[in-house]
Symmetry: C2
Subunit: 127 residues, 2 copies
Amino acid sequence: MSDTTNDTEKRELGQDFMPKFDAQGLLTAVVLDDSTSSPLMVAFMNEEALAATRESGIAHFYSRSRGTLWKKGETSGNVLTVKSILVDCDQDALVLRCTAAGPACHTGATSCFYRKLEGDTLFPAIS
Amino acid sequence: MSDTTNDTEKRELGQDFMPKFDAQGLLTAVVLDDSTSSPLMVAFMNEEALAATRESGIAHFYSRSRGTLWKKGETSGNVLTVKSILVDCDQDALVLRCTAAGPACHTGATSCFYRKLEGDTLFPAIS
């Protein structure tokens, strides 16, 4: 958060991967289905989760509620295989384009984004 | 973060919009281009930013660096008009499907996700 102008320029325009973790040590990861581009889920990564994801090619996150490394699909088998990683301008958010072995959502839905807001009410989203 | 089982069920399966702000009072907002589904940017919303977005139909966020409400495009004119809002299972992340009046990124790029990580190096992403 206290980058110099030079750091900012390097981070935004350079070729070096310089992931920027926030005050909680996290960055945001958005998972899109690699074939349909549909949003599947949003989660957070700390340094360990990012390293595990890059090493294994399988999405790992940091569970804010449990305070631990979380290999998505570890128990359900519904892992996310990372096909490519996009990095945003200030390198504090990633888009993971993935293929999903099964429903991405713990509710059993294909995507966590299964509802659409209309007025004050949530309706099933057609994805 | 201390929902009862009943709250969790209501939040995950119900029709009520019950946005869940984190310890910092924020939720994550992912902006997708409504026509192409390409990811444009990721930002955060506090209660005020969410209310302003819903009232105006124009994306507003909370700037973590400035600590203020941020109407995206206020100075550049590159506003994001919200076409629909998707809500995730635990209601702590939103997907805003938007039409962009101009480049979504402050660097002038169409999307903030203009680079792809390959090995340790960032390359221009073809979007």
